[in-house]
Symmetry: C2
Subunit: 176 residues, 2 copies
């Protein structure tokens, strides 16, 4: 069961988003046109500021018409390895440098229409540094018990998919 | 802390994807252009075929260049309520009618560039019906213990974000 790309066309190039429309022969032998948002990938981090507490961000998201609670995350720069991106985002978004970074997984956010993959980490041994936000990032940092964050998945206080994935894998890591 | 949409422009209309570029005044008072993939929403389901076992689909995803294991899911039709979509997708993708549907949550898949929200359900009291796949859906149904699916989140066997969210919330539901 394999597939073949028969042709590709870049049908949209925006400020951040790029869309390809590819003609693909599917593993069932049929040919179809597939639209795909091409994404450079991202990194998301569960930063432990103590044995019990983590840092999250309450971030304005236009897509949700308000603020939602998320783990710090960001898009890979060109040629940037995912772990370097993770360390950079902890510094920029929540103002800490991490002494220890553990990869806990990677997820496809929505494989039906984008190749975005988010690499997931736990960070420890944090020391404060200056926070550096982009001009269009509107967020505040919140410190909360890791246990509370897990409760907030259940009670609907956390609705961001990458954050739920990262917290779940961090829980699994803690459970051994 | 509020925001205002200053203008909107539909900059891409494809077969499935639509992109708006909106001029937005952010809650910090700055104005910026934001690209947003407009999505009708979706539903994803953890279907229990017995007390212990669930049904998942091993689906070809061009974005991942192969097959990945996912919970059954699909996009809302125009004016379709999420629970109706969930019941329809269980029938079409895994060939079962569900007698009982429980909403367990809803997640934003990637709020940085799309308003896609996926409504999450547990389905029970399944009876077999005919499976009806779209011509571009290439998948096989797999029955596996729910406990095994949770292990596969940890060991990297499941990398689809909505599936990890749905399974995590289903576990939380089972745990009470």
């Amino acid at each position: 069961m394999s597939f073949r790309r028969l042709s590709t066309e870049r049908v949209y190039t925006g400020r951040l988003l790029k869309i390809d429309r590819d003609r693909v022969e599917l593993p069932n032998g049929r040919a179809t046109d597939l639209e795909m948002v091409r994404h450079p990938g991202a990194a998301a981090i569960v930063p432990f500021v103590s044995d019990d507490d983590i840092l999250m961000v309450r971030q304005f998201r236009y897509a949700t018409a308000g603020f939602i609670l998320e783990v710090p995350a960001g898009t890979l720069n060109p040629d940037e390895p995912p772990d370097a991106c993770a360390l950079r985002e902890i510094e920029e978004e929540v103002g800490h440098r991490a002494g220890r970074l553990t990869k806990i997984g990677a997820v496809y956010t929505t494989p039906g229409f984008t190749d975005e993959i988010i690499h997931l980490y736990v960070a420890r041994d944090l020391v404060p540094v200056a926070q550096r936000l982009d001009h269009d990032e509107v967020l505040t940092v919140e410190r909360l018990p890791f246990r509370r964050a897990l409760e907030m998945i259940r009670d609907g206080g956390i609705v961001d998919a990458k954050s739920i994935c990262a917290l779940t894998l961090a829980r699994d890591l803690a459970a051994g």
